[in-house]
Structures are given as C-alpha cells and as structure tokens.
Symmetry: C2
C-alpha cells in the first residue's frame, strides 16, 4: 500500500506492506488530516519514525471482533498498556508505555490502511460526512478543556491564536453561553462559519487593562503565553492547549502574585465531539482549505505549514 | 520613632514621625520578621519606598474601636479598597488599588509603630509567645495552598526548597497524613524540629523516574521549577509559592503533553495559622536563627540574606 512515511530526515510517499494484526482492527482510511503536531514531528519531536497521521476517518475492513467490520469509524490515538497504575486509575492517555498513532511508536493514518485496538474505535453517525468526521480528533482535543476546567456561562474567555485549534476551541467554549473572544491576526478566518462567525479581535485592539476569567493559549508561541498572562484576571486560569515546542522566558513570580493557574490540556473524548458535530453545533467543514491525494502528501504538508493555513486533508481512498 | 526605611537606594534605621490615624489602629510593634520578599524589595521589586516589614506581632495602642486597645495582635498585610469588583467578589487580596504593609504604598512594621485597618487585625491567643505569633503571616501563606488546592491524605507531595517557606509548607501539608518530602540541600534544617523532623532528601538523591502528585515550588529558582516539572506525575499539580523574580526558560509543551497544572498561591488566612500554632502542630520557634535589635536592622538584613539563613527577627520593643 501507499503511506506517507517519515524516516527521521524527510517524509515521502512510499510503498509499504499492508499492515496485518490478530489483535487490532484493520481500517481502510478514507481521509486523513494534517495537524501542527505533524510539523513538530518533522522537526524531531519525540524522535518518531514511521507513517505519519493521527486524524482520520475510515472503514473497518478486518477485526478480531467481526461486528466492527464494514463500520465507518474514527479512532482515539493513544494505545495504552491498560495494566500500569495510570491506566488503572483511568489516566490511560498518560500511560508511560503507550503507543500513539502516527506520533509515538505506531504507524499512523496517512496511508491506505492503519491499525488500532477495537477499544479505540468510535462509529461515525450516518449523518456526518467524512469531511466532518475527520475532525473528531482535533475537536475532541478542544472538548478536553471542559473535561478538566469548568467554564461557567457567565465567564469571559479569550482564545489566543486563530489557527485550526483556536477556531475549534472558540466554537466549543461558546456553546454554554460564555463570552468567547478569539485573539488572532486573520479576521477572514473568524467569519468562515458564515452566520456562526466567531467574535474576534487583533491583539493590538485589546482594551488596555481589560481582564478575563479564562485564557486558552492555542498559538504555541512565547508571545501568546506572555499575552495570556497580561489578559487573565487574578485567580483566573490559563489553559495551555498547544504542544508546540518552544522555550519560554517568563517572570513566573506573576503566577504567585496574582494566584493564576496554568493548566495543560491534551487529548479529549471522541463521543462528545461526534455528538456536537452531529447536532450541527460546531462548524468544521468551513475550516478545510484543501484536499490533496495521498500521492501529493508532500505538497499537502507544504501547504499546511504555510502561515495562516487552516485544515489540509489527504484523500487516501482512490488507490 | 525609629524605623527601618528603604529610600530606593539603601535601607537605613532612621528617626521618623510616629504615625497617627483617625481610621486605623496604631500598633506598638514587639517583633518583626525578615522575609525573602524584603530582599526582593531592596532589589527594586514593586518600586517600594518607605518602612520595610510585613511580618510582626504587637499591641494596639490606639484604635478607632477602643475595644482593641491593649490587645496583642498580628495583622493581615493587604489593605484593599473594599469597593471594587475583586473586593466585592471576596478577592480583596487582589484589589488592584490595595496597599500592602511594608510592600506597596504603606509603611511597614520594622519600626516602633505601624498602622493597620481594624479589619486586618487578629488577636493573638495568650498561649502563643511573641516569637511564635510573628510567624502568623508566613504560616498563613503556607496554609493558603490548602485554600486553593485540595491535597488528599493519600497523596505524595514534594516541597522544593528548604528555606523558611519550604519548612513551613512541609509542616502544614503533612498535617492530614499526606506523605511530604522536602527537597533541599540543608539536612541540618530538616531536623530542627527535633521529634518533629521533616522527611527530606537532596535533589540528587531523588529516585530516577519517581513521580509525585503535587509539587510545591518554594525555592524561587528556575532550577526549582524545572525540577518540579520532572517530579510531577501526569495530571499532577505544581504550586508556585515563591514571588522571587526570576526569568525562567522552560519548554511549556510539557504542561500540555502531561496535562500538568501550575498554580500560583500567595497570602493566606491568619486564623487557621494561629490555631495551628496554638495547638502545637507547627514548630515555628525552631526556625529562628537570631534576633537583632531594631538599631541593628542592617546587620540583621545582611544575616537574613546569607544562603542557608532561616528566620531573623527584629526586636522593636526596647526603645
């Protein structure tokens, strides 16, 4: 089969053996999404080698549980050992010996086929298109915020960074009526959702001295975190969503002085993400910039890494 | 009266007018404590000018409410406006126009007399000596952790830094049965409490890979925060107690990846601190290195700033 493989130096579309497994589901991938984490991997993050891709939708072709065969699925990316202390405490996404699809020690979904444990699968409702379902993983990551940090409807939330993640986070956090302000430099992105445009502002437009209850840092830049510290009120919370590697220089005495919390947040639950898309509450298709064939994966990656790019998908079906 | 005054360049014992107020209590100071924050002020923190000192015990000499006269007191250091939004929301320690005793816009307690609003006063139980009561403010800051972050008894907590604050924090957090480990370089400090010695360890003795639920950063150093990030388990919390100004260079993607929380914590409640000392549950007198007369305040400060020094007190009574 064809797969988009990173060998530690560069990523190339290659012919590789079709995977087989006696214990995992074999999934025929339809669409795969390119994420900022893929760029980080190409820069050396986690020393990953293998097939890229952790955002996908596909159909189960073979499975130890035959009831799954023929079903359209998305899949959670963490494959934990299910026996260590974190796993037994329900923290399996932090299993120290986990494999992570297309990120750590497990070939990913930018290929004709991938493998995942049955426990990771979620059936996609019929009402959702492939172009929607492929957003299940990044949308779950946005939903993850609410799993850890309550955001009451009366609060004001600033979301820093109007990239893919910021646009999903802003849509999720406004669902309960909270006042959400997206801070970014690309007003044309805030209005992509048409009638559901996101209220946005450029950093320089922020009213001096105005403070908010919660700030979600989605820019992945040191400037973003410094701005977050300026915006958050005393005893407020900053949620760190980005896994972009960057060394930050900050005066951390401000955390103690203003009793601010910095909370890291990573992967989230798929079922709420699928429900939100099914009910039409989150606009995801409007975030798609382009769809490339798997053979054009290198061009697709180059496009995805351009400043201001939103979601680039790989079509892996036509092989 | 005599007072230890910082003029922006240096701190000197000077003769200054005895303060008077129609609205605040006039307190005859008995003892004042030197804190790391005083060192920060001398380095320029907050551009404070005036009499230093925010840890004290004294006797009310004159008061708008005469019922307080003659009573022995300690005092909360934040003097909020009591009318702004934070004040009305119960967050008065974050009042943006607050004065802070000996720290911001209000003369402090390293003097024969100081002034504080009646609302800030707490009577000292008879059973406590002055040498104990003067620890009310720093002990309240240790207690503040539990006001914000629950620490269940089954958890393991690492306290980084075996200075004055770390020794108080370790004593407070072990009260509920939690396993508390103090990380520092001065084993002779951990045993100052005699039978109540604190379980301690040098950083290099930490078992590789061992993780804890909570880490309290009391060292105020970038190395301390980096070590905290190494020690804390996924989904654990790091509590930042230090207001030492230092620029930290850190890779913050670890916060998101491991879903770690960094929580700032500052001033705390006095009544629990007084109760803990009254009940003999916290050993504070053993933390006293020396007591200097107010006239020797410069020598006292030099002594307090030496590496490894614990609490230095100023005796302000004999004038």
């Amino acid at each position: 089969m064809q797969a988009f493989v990173f060998d530690g130096q560069s990523a190339q579309v290659k012919t590789v053996p079709k995977p087989t497994s006696a214990t995992e589901a074999l999934i025929r991938v339809h669409l795969a999404g390119i994420c900022t984490t893929d760029r980080e991997i190409l820069k050396g993050y986690g020393q990953f080698r293998g097939t890229l891709g952790h955002e996908f939708v596909g159909t189960v072709e073979a499975c130890p549980d035959p009831g799954w065969e023929g079903r359209r699925v998305v899949g959670e990316i963490n494959c934990p050992c299910r026996s260590c202390t974190p796993c037994q405490n329900g923290d399996s996404i932090h299993c120290p010996s986990r494999q992570v699809l297309g990120i750590h020690d497990k070939d990913g979904a930018m290929a004709e086929y991938c493998l995942l444990p049955v426990a990771n699968l979620h059936e996609v409702p019929e009402t959702l298109s492939d172009r929607q379902a492929v957003f299940a993983e990044p949308l779950a990551a946005a939903v993850a915020i609410l799993q850890r940090i309550p955001i009451p409807p009366s609060q004001t939330v600033a979301v820093i960074g109007d990239g893919k993640l910021g646009l999903l986070v802003a849509q999720v956090l406004r669902l309960n009526g909270a006042h959400v302000l997206l801070i970014g430099r690309h007003p044309e992105k805030w209005t992509r959702m048409g009638n559901h445009a996101i209220e946005g502002m450029k950093p320089e437009e922020w009213p001096t001295g105005q403070k908010v209850d919660r700030v979600v840092e989605c820019s992945g830049s040191p400037e973003g975190l410094r701005f977050a510290l300026d915006l958050v009120r005393p005893r407020g919370k900053i949620i760190m969503k980005s896994t972009v590697h960057a060394s930050y220089i900050l005066d951390f005495s401000r955390l103690a002085l203003h009793e601010i919390s910095l909370e890291g947040s990573r992967c989230g639950p798929f079922e709420p993400a699928l429900r939100l898309m099914s009910r039409g509450l989150i606009m995801v298709e409007s975030l798609i910039d382009d769809v490339f064939a798997l053979e054009q994966a290198r061009d697709a990656l180059a496009q995805a890494m351009k400043p201001g790019a939103l979601k680039i998908l790989l079509d892996t079906k036509n092989h």
